[in-house]
């Protein structure tokens, strides 16, 4: 029996490496991960800012440079008329506009509140929100400084006079909040899912298309052996791929590894099981490679991006949240982020591991049954 399985596995390996289209696809997927890691971010950074300063005083210029110094903002140009604001916003040349009225410095010196307007392109609410939050923070600091200066001029010390709550913010797990780390890990998880599904599916369908399935069934090979042979070689390949991906993340992108790598590999194995299950299942449904690809892309694609990889699951509507419970990727991403960024172990992640194991077993069972049945 061992002989049969090794023979089968050898054949699968040979066929896989000779299938140029598939190999290219895999390489391309890795490339995509790298590209995404490098370029994608949902942060607000270098947002183009236009300024209309009617005052042109030292104070207004000081305010403008305070804004320009922010990371999120990029001072693009000084505008010379309010009308330009509208048109440039429409064009999309600027996304923010700071309007300083002529009375600005006068009001400040008189001790009256000086009003300043920030016009924000609200299209992308996330970016708009971030931009406004940053502006708000800047204003508060600016004002606090001004207040201190004023009170000092009056000979008063702020401290000890007025109550104040200081909130020390500490960001856990990713103090610099580098989006790259997050996206690399999620992209890796997506790659594992995609490849883990596609490759076994291709293996099964290839057999069907060539018509060699019948031949195999006439031989003493048993159903389980066949499935094992279809899956084991690919799990091996995936391990290799995973290792490459992890290496890329750790060395090229400085992603921290705070938890146990061994645990990650263990959970990854469970993930392989689950995704292979999906892959074999797809292989039994599709009749040829085209259908397989279609099925794969249009099921995997949404699943990949909706399992907490772009948007936290808690953001999604409730019924979709329930749906994600069925997605192995969701658990894998949680486990991955947990192990790499949070440094937690099995005592926290056991629900994820369990879910992956259960999903994997169920999927494998269904596909085995279907496989056996499809042969008669």
């Amino acid at each position: 029996m061992k002989r049969r399985v090794t023979g089968l596995m050898r054949k699968e390996f040979i066929q896989f490496f000779r299938d140029r289209a598939l190999v290219l696809l895999i390489l391309y997927t890795f490339l995509e991960i790298a590209i995404c890691g490098w370029s994608l971010t949902l942060e607000a950074r270098d947002l183009p800012l236009g300024v209309f300063d009617s005052d042109r005083s030292a104070e207004s210029r000081a305010l403008v440079s305070a804004f320009a110094r922010l990371d999120s903002y990029k001072l693009l140009e000084q505008l010379d008329s309010p009308a330009k604001i509208g048109s440039k916003m429409d064009e999309g040349t600027i996304q923010l506009a700071l309007v300083i009225p002529a009375e600005f410095s006068r009001d400040l010196q008189a001790g009256k509140p000086a009003d300043v307007q920030l016009i924000v392109d609200g299209s992308n609410s996330s970016i708009a929100g971030q931009a406004m939050a940053v502006a708000g923070g800047l204003m508060r600091d600016y004002n606090a400084q001004l207040t201190t200066t004023r009170l000092n001029r009056r000979g008063l010390n702020v401290r000890g006079l007025l109550p104040e709550v200081r909130n020390e913010l500490r960001v856990w797990y990713m103090p610099q909040m580098k989006y790259v780390h997050f996206s690399m890990l999620t992209m890796l998880a997506i790659a594992v899912l995609t490849l883990g599904v596609l490759v076994p599916a291709a293996g099964v369908v290839r057999e069907k298309e060539a018509g060699t399935f019948e031949q195999l069934m006439v031989t003493p090979i048993r159903g389980i052996e066949l499935i094992a042979a279809k899956i084991l070689p690919f799990m091996l390949l995936e391990l290799v791929g995973l290792t490459i991906g992890i290496a890329m993340s750790l060395w090229l992108f400085d992603v921290p590894l705070r938890g146990s790598l061994g645990l990650f590999y263990g959970i990854s194995l469970l993930m392989f099981l689950g995704s292979s299950g999906i892959g074999v299942l797809m292989g039994t449904i599709a009749k040829n490679m085209q259908q397989t690809l279609l099925l794969a892309f249009f099921i995997l694609f949404p699943v990949a991006f909706l399992s907490g990889t772009m948007v936290p699951i808690s953001n999604m509507p409730v019924f979709l949240q329930w749906l994600t419970l069925l997605s192995p990727l969701r658990y894998y991403v949680e486990a991955g982020l947990g192990i790499f960024l949070k440094g937690v172990g099995l005592e926290v992640l056991w629900p994820q591991a369990l879910a992956l194991a259960v999903l994997g077993l169920v999927l494998m069972t269904i596909s085995t049954i279907r496989l056996r049945r499809s042969l008669s």
């Binding site: 049969r4 050898r10 019948e214 006439v218 031989t219």
Partner: protein, 644 residues
């Protein structure tokens, strides 16, 4: 065409698909191009149709320069490629309408032709049916109709009737004759030798070159020597001796008869029986036979081959006798085997037996249930009713135990195309748990048998039909099973390779392996010990080829040479005494119910018409004709029952 050539690829991988062809074809001719796989036939046709640019040379078709003005060909030529080029989801009628519109055939003319074609092709009732739901034969007829609807001057047909049942094949040619009468020139490639016989001229192509190009009769005369048939016992000994004997170019096994081709007739023919008796072989029933086109072909090919490389030893090495299992005398026993799919009965109460060591041919047109039956016998599909045992084991209850005893070759050759020869062998060896010590032996054996020694590194995909076939056979018998199931093993393989294959099969059979083989090539039936003819899931005839012939009282084949075959055809084919009439080059072959009455009717009809004819004579009926008879009778019976 002159010097027509096509080279593919670059550098090391350069393949000269077609090398410098020179040919001229007359208007109104039927021209046949025959040759093994990969000879360059399809490439030639594609160049002539203007859809493939030649590397050099030129050609003119219907007055159009193919090289410089291929666009002008539109509407003048028709082309039927291998495979089906219909639009599956469109109905029969819609397909015809599409082609008519595509070629700008005026509406009324198109409608008229459409009706005529539908009638000819017997597709009128199916006009609203989707093309994908038609049977293979009907699809081919429809494809032909679609090219005829715009009445091209030249018709190119690439293996148009491959895989089609004999009845449809006849109908196909009938349609063609109808249009031939209008002066259409037909260029056809075919693996069927009997179709080649119908052509006014035949060219043999091999390795990109035309080896010979004459009328069929001329070609036959080209073969030096004569053909003899005999019965010899014990056959293996006789065959072995004959193969090594000088002066004998071909030895072919047809069941119990041997068909020999001698280099020159006369002396050798007379001395042969004596010589055989001298080595202990009993010879009986010696007759002279006419060389068939297949003989011509193979002789030509052989000559080519011998001039290129030394002939492969066709000696199949002795392998230790097939493992003895709990089989006993009967290898396969089938009783009332039935399989239904929903309301459709694919296999209907089959009952037959196959003794050990016999070659059993399971014949029938496509869709008659052959593959389903094999699947059941191999344990791939459970029967709905009835029972069967293979190697003494019940196919339902002892399914798993059967597996090591059987070998199976599926229609698609069941090789892994992306694996090499060696890797394929290795795989099957692993799968059947062949012990390491025997592995090397068996591997060598298979390679030698298939003629692939030294070629282990080639990808299975790159092998041509014949090699693949032998390799697949080798892999199937790697584990020395007692029973071999072969499902259409010779489809798409050239005649030479087919012959070699049958030699292999016979050799295996003489070593005690039982062989259950399905095929739709009726002429291969001759090679089998006994036959079963299935039609629509039912066994409508069974027995040995000789028995079937003897017991068939009805049906005789009359051959009559005529000057104007098409006119003669028109006159004869509707006579009540005739069943089927076909043109074979310059002769007419008529299948009649009764020999004497039929012959008389034919002679009378031809005389009335003033069509000059040579003397008609009775010729041995081929198995294919026999089966056509059986099928027609079955159909008649069915219709009668339906009407009742």
């Amino acid at each position: 065409m002159k010097g027509l050539a096509k080279t593919y690829g670059r550098g090391r991988k350069k393949v000269d698909a077609v090398r410098g062809l020179d040919l001229g074809i007359e208007r109104g001719d039927i021209f046949g191009l025959v040759g093994p796989d990969g000879a360059g036939k399809t490439t030639t046709i594609q160049m002539l149709c203007g859809i493939l640019t030649p590397s050099s040379g030129e050609a003119t078709v219907a007055g159009v320069d193919v090289l410089r003005q291929p666009d002008d060909l539109g509407g003048k030529i028709g082309y039927m490629s291998e495979g089906f080029s219909l639009y599956g989801s469109l109905s029969v009628e819609e397909n015809l309408d599409f082609f008519a519109r595509l070629y700008d055939v005026p509406a009324e003319i198109a409608a008229e032709r459409k009706e005529k074609l539908l009638g000819f092709a017997r597709l009128s009732e199916a006009r609203a049916r989707r093309a994908e739901h038609l049977s293979g034969g009907m699809k081919k007829k429809l494809a032909l109709a679609c090219t005829l609807i715009y009445e091209p001057q030249v018709l190119f047909l690439d293996e148009p009737t491959t895989g089609v049942d004999p009845v449809s094949r006849q109908e196909f040619w009938k349609i063609l004759y109808g249009f031939l009468a209008k002066g259409v020139t037909i260029f056809v490639t075919t693996p069927y030798m009997d179709e080649a016989e119908r052509c006014s001229r035949v060219a043999l192509m091999r390795d990109g070159q035309i080896v010979a190009s004459e009328t069929p009769s001329e070609l036959k005369r080209l073969i030096q020597g004569m053909a003899i048939e005999m019965v010899a016992e014990p056959q293996p000994k006789a065959v072995a001796w004959l193969r090594r004997a000088p002066g004998i170019t071909q030895v072919q096994i047809f069941g119990e008869r041997l068909h020999l081709l001698l280099r020159d007739g006369g002396n050798l023919a007379r001395e042969l029986p004596q010589k055989l008796e001298a080595v202990g072989v009993t010879v009986s029933d010696v007759r002279t036979a006419e060389p068939s086109l297949e003989d011509v072909f193979i002789a030509a090919v052989e000559e080519q081959r011998t001039s290129e490389a030394p002939p492969r030893p066709l000696n199949i090495p002795e392998s230790s006798s097939a493992s003895s299992g709990p089989s006993g005398a009967l290898a396969i026993r089938v009783e009332n085997l039935t399989r239904r799919f929903d309301s459709f009965t694919a296999v209907d109460r089959l009952t037959f037996e196959v003794p050990r060591g016999e070659i059993f041919g399971f014949l029938g047109p496509n869709g008659s249930g052959k593959t389903t039956t094999i699947r059941m016998l191999c344990g791939l599909l459970p029967p709905t009713e009835g029972e069967a045992s293979v190697a003494g084991l019940d196919i339902v209850r002892q399914r798993k135990a059967i597996k090591p005893h059987i070998g199976y070759m599926s229609q698609k050759f069941s090789l892994y195309n992306d694996l090499t020869v060696g890797e394929n062998i290795r795989f099957y060896a692993d799968v059947y748990d062949l012990p390491e010590d025997r592995l090397a032996d068996r591997r060598r054996w298979v390679l030698q048998m298939a003629g692939l020694t030294g070629k282990e590194h080639l990808l299975a995909r790159d092998l041509s039909g014949g090699w693949k076939q032998r390799l697949a056979l080798g892999c199937a018998i790697l584990h020395q099973p007692e029973i071999l199931f072969l499902d259409e093993p010779t489809s798409g393989v050239d005649p030479h390779s087919r012959r070699e294959f049958w030699d292999l099969i016979s050799e295996l059979s003489s070593q005690g392996v039982t062989i259950f083989i399905t095929t739709h090539y009726m002429d291969e039936a001759e090679h089998c010990h006994s036959l079963g003819l299935v039609y629509r899931g039912r066994l409508i005839a069974s027995g040995s080829p000789a028995d079937l012939r003897k017991n068939m009282r009805l049906g005789h084949l009359i051959e009559v040479p005529v000057r104007d075959p098409l006119a003669a055809l028109a006159r004869i084919e509707n006579l009540p005494e005739t069943l089927q009439t076909s043109v074979f080059g310059d002769k007419l072959r008529v299948l009649v119910w009764e020999a004497v009455a039929g012959q008389q009717a034919i002679d009378r009809a031809l005389a009335e018409e003033g069509i000059f004819a040579g003397s008609s004579r009775s010729v041995p009926i081929s198995l294919e004709d026999l089966f056509t008879l059986f099928i027609e009778m079955e159909e008649a019976g069915l219709n009668a029952r339906r009407a009742a």
